[in-house]
């Protein structure tokens, strides 16, 4: 049929039809005499069903529309660092970013310790950790972490250069993704993104369903044993909101961890992003991490 949405009279009944979709063939006019109580009951049921059906179909659309505006995602630059400078020129708002230069990390574990102290993270759970990748001459690649003591790899036996080709450290933390699966799946909206691009959890709202723990591809989320709510790195939002650096960045002795406003071309992070080849973790999943890396290899996931 070839007619405009509004102009064709023959289309119009069809346009109103969906309102009655939830109750096909149930019009009370076709009912044989029934007493008033029964009829009311029937109508109540119709109302319940129609409401349910309408809510299920209409709300997701409304919510998606509401989400579209005023979204830090819109301002988030792509992983390609050359684009960040251009984005910064627009100088919309602050947009935080994080960079890990793995070539500088010495595995001292200071960041892990600082994070534990700053955020009262339970002993066996981690908002950040450091992985070590060891490439042996026989072709093996081994990965490990140091999650006890002072978290320093010094506590482990030294590697033997006769059997090892190369080794390096990779600090991990929440990627504060642009397309966050964790926010997407949270059924109550307890996971959220601030205007400056930080992914946070509202511990007053979180129901502890752990769906976000499943959805985060990077293993950064956990259900905190103490609070019984979801937990993860906040880039120390309580500090950065006051203009301070995250605790891990503050203590890192080698400058491995860099934090700042990527919308500001003069920030430390923007300057490094502008000149280095940058990578992100599991880019194939399309979550567009805002924690970026220098010096990854294909073994790092």
């Amino acid at each position: 049929m070839n007619c405009t949405p509004t102009g064709c009279p023959s289309c119009q009944p069809a346009a109103v039809a969906p309102a009655s979709v939830a109750s096909p063939g149930l019009a009370p006019s076709s009912a044989t005499p029934a007493d008033p109580g029964r009829r009311e009951f029937v109508w109540d049921a119709i109302r319940t069903f129609s409401f349910g059906a309408l809510t299920l179909t209409a709300l997701p659309i409304l919510v998606a529309e509401a989400d579209a505006d005023d979204d830090p995602k819109a301002a988030a630059p792509p992983a390609d660092p050359s684009a960040t400078v251009g984005a910064a020129k627009r100088k919309r708002t602050v947009l935080f970013g994080y960079l890990v230069d793995t070539t500088k990390c010495i595995g001292c574990g200071g960041c892990m310790l600082a994070c534990k102290n700053e955020n009262a993270v339970p002993d066996d759970q981690f908002r950040t950790w450091v992985e070590r990748y060891v490439y042996y001459k026989d072709g093996r690649v081994e990965v490990d972490t140091c999650t006890s003591g002072n978290f320093s790899f010094d506590q482990k036996p030294a590697l033997d250069p006769k059997v090892v080709d190369k080794a390096f450290f990779v600090p991990k933390l929440c990627n504060h993704c642009v397309e966050t699966p964790c926010i997407q799946v949270c059924p109550v909206g307890a996971s959220l993104m601030t205007k400056d691009g930080v992914v946070l959890i509202d511990h007053e709202r979180c129901i502890g369903c752990a769906y976000c723990v499943q959805a985060c591809p990077f293993g950064t989320r956990f259900i905190n044993h103490k609070t019984n709510t979801a937990d993860k790195c906040t880039w120390c939002y309580h500090r950065v909101a006051k203009g301070e650096k995250p605790a891990c960045v503050e203590v890192c002795p080698t400058g491995t961890r860099i934090f700042g406003d990527i919308n500001d071309p003069d920030s430390d992070i923007s300057k490094v992003l502008a000149v280095h080849r940058i990578d992100v973790l599991k880019s194939y999943l399309g979550t567009r991490p805002k924690t970026r890396y220098i010096g990854l290899t294909s073994e790092v996931v």
Binding site: V42, V143, R205, C209, C216
Partner: protein
Amino acid sequence: MHGHPIEFMFPNDHGSIAWTLMIVLYPYITGLVAGAFVVAALYHVFGKKELAPVARFALAASFSFCAFATMPLLLHLHQPQRAFNIMFTPNFTSAMAGFGFIYSFYLTLLGVEILLVFRDDIVARANRRGVEGWLYKVLALGVTNQTPGSRALDHKWISALSVIGIPAACVLHGYVGFIFGGIKANPWWSTALMPVIFLCSAIVSGVAMLILLYVIASKFRRVQVDDECLRSMMRTLWLFLILAVALEELELLNMAYESGAQWAMLSRLIHEKLHFSFTWLQLILGSVVPFFLLLIGMRRGLHPGVRIGLGTVSGLLVLIQVMSMRWNVVIGGQLLSKSFRGFNNYLPEFGGREGLGVAVLVFCLPFVLMFALGKILPLWKTDAADGH
């Protein structure tokens, strides 16, 4: 050329998994809801007259399972007192947010349909004295006079609810599958087939459960098992079992054939971690054996006693199949660390909120409700007067 890194788990994956036994139980119970409803619908909508002996009971069973489907979820939530936030402040980009609405809709639908199906009996008892009379008056929604016209209207409604109930059951359970299928972080879950697989296995489990309950209840009621009815259920079970298992295996075959980046670890998951629960329970004992038992048991002219035996055993095996399938999906998917380099371990503890003891208790509750419903409503009546 460097080989694959070995055994490394992200530190937060160590030693614990986020979704435990209760989340295995939850899709199991919702599956039984959907499956039992399908049997009732086969009778009410598709005119499978031979299912008359179990049609009413199927509805009551579906309702009873539905009534307790949220229990495992509440037991699993770390902040159960906030559970209703899922309906008060739903975030509709979450697959989980629809749960409250879909579930309430379905429970209401089942409740209304039961009231209508049993309306004759309820009205007939509404003039009894005392508390009993009151109970039936409430169930009759206060309206106790019936005319041929009102009966006809009831029947229209029953058919309509059954018709609406079929897609609703599909949504209810397909949606449960989607909760897993939509998680791209997990290669063991992330597949578009997941909702369909869950739906088919739901139907399978519901039919199997009904066969079992029908046989057991008949023994207790000292009535004969209706041979045609049992045969029809076994045929339905056989067909859906083939469909469910074919989909489950196709999914796996596809993964193996593509041999994507994660296949090496997934194949280790199947062969090492899930060897018993997948290969032995889900595949051999739960699928292959009942396939043949049902094939024999469906034959026309078989001795009714033999049919009952074969039906009962296959029903039981299929229930084990579906339970292990839920386990393999829910637990299996979490055993593989997100590092894709190492495996977790999980064995349910006995005590505790999410332990085996509570799980068994929760699973018993629907049967208690069924028993109670059986005390107030004639669940096994197959009256010709209901117009079918």
